[in-house]
């Protein structure tokens, strides 16, 4: 900070040149380094409220069955419902309540990681707050970002929220068994996703039944850890 010039006897310009989003990005880099140093694969799971983020994490944990070598940071506004659901699969879980904030940020992840014992952990799932807008602006330091979208959100979710789909490394379309009842075309959602993100694998799943879960595991690069 410096005072650059006087505009008359009393008025001054104070140069601040502060990038408000930079702090989160630098903390995200520190988180990434921490994960790399501990050889942990960190995965940020994003999606709407009710899209099936927790169910997907549970389904993956059930499939890979590595117990406490998997850890989960469950982000939510105020409840511990998700943490309790995930605990049943044997992973280490920490619930992060954001109060009223609409997204997790790198600082909250830094704090959570401190309170979570990570020795022996191979993979860390970070379940973001249910929201398709704000988490896109706040990287957490995860190696991969997965977006879950479900057919029950209707046919326009991808078109309305292109940003978060652009950021994704993997896109999972959940509740595929309900597509016909919802009159939603999975192939249309896939082509909407391809338009903003031609590279991310688009995988149709039914998290409750386990359909498509092996493909998600493969796309996240989890196989090499097992």
């Amino acid at each position: 900070m410096k005072i650059i010039k006087s505009r008359g006897p009393e008025i001054f310009d104070i140069e601040l040149e502060k990038d408000l989003l930079a702090k989160n990005r630098s903390l995200a880099k520190e988180n990434r380094k921490r994960f790399d140093d501990s050889k942990i694969l960190a995965i940020d799971i994003m999606g709407s409220i009710g899209s099936g983020k927790t169910s997907l994490i549970k389904a993956i944990l059930k499939n890979i069955a590595i117990g406490e070598r998997a850890a989960v940071i469950a982000g939510d506004l105020t409840t511990t419902i998700d943490a309790r659901r995930i605990e049943g699969e044997g992973a280490r879980v920490i619930q992060v309540n954001t109060g009223k904030e609409c997204h997790l940020d790198a600082n909250l992840i830094r704090k959570s990681v401190k309170s979570l014992k990570l020795d022996g952990v191979k993979v860390l799932f970070i379940e973001n707050v249910g929201n398709l807008i704000c988490p896109g602006e706040f990287p957490l330091g995860a190696h991969k970002r997965l977006v879950v979208v479900s057919v029950t959100e209707g046919p326009y979710t991808v078109m309305k929220h292109p940003y978060i789909f652009k950021e994704a490394d993997v896109i999972a379309l959940n509740k595929i068994d309900l597509a016909r009842a919802m009159k939603v075309s999975p192939s249309q959602l896939e082509s909407d996703a391809r338009e903003v993100n031609p590279d991310a694998p688009f995988i149709k799943i039914n998290a409750l039944k386990g359909t498509g879960i092996p493909r998600v595991i493969h796309a996240l690069g989890l196989k090499s850890l097992l």
Partner: protein
């Protein structure tokens, strides 16, 4: 057993960014022993997920009761710049389609259509300077 970490805040990330701006402005004003803050200059990239009107609203609200109350909040929009890794195009984004995602997420090079593009500018939120009275 799981543990819980709590963080209290108010919804929308415009609020968190605005609080950070207000904290920085009041800190700098105090450090320089100013009596009143007259204006605040911000730059927000057109691709940043921040609504300038909401940011301005929250800053005005949070300034109330401080030496910055009533100060002008000037927000300059920063145009996005992209660089194409295939054809070398360097410049702004443009699209012929009215319903295109291009305004929010530039997905391909406007010249050659390649997806190998890098956003160089347009995602920032800068607090440039404040004007204050000694």
């Amino acid at each position: 057993m799981h543990e819980a970490l709590c963080q209290s805040a108010i919804p929308m990330h415009e609020y968190s960014i605005s609080s950070e701006i207000v904290k920085t402005v009041l800190g700098a004003a105090a450090e320089n022993e100013t009596r009143k803050v007259l204006s605040v200059q911000l730059e927000i990239g057109e691709l940043a997920l921040l609504n300038a009107e909401q940011v301005s609203f929250w800053i005005h609200e949070l300034f109330k009761g401080t030496i910055a109350e009533g100060s002008k909040v000037k927000i300059k929009k920063v145009r996005a710049r992209i660089r194409c890794g295939s054809c070398g195009y360097h410049g702004g984004m443009k699209s012929d389609r009215a319903d295109s995602f291009q305004h929010l997420v530039p997905q391909s090079c406007p010249k050659c259509g390649s997806f190998q593009i890098k956003i160089e500018k347009g995602r920032e939120c800068f607090l440039r300077r404040i004007q204050a009275v000694k």
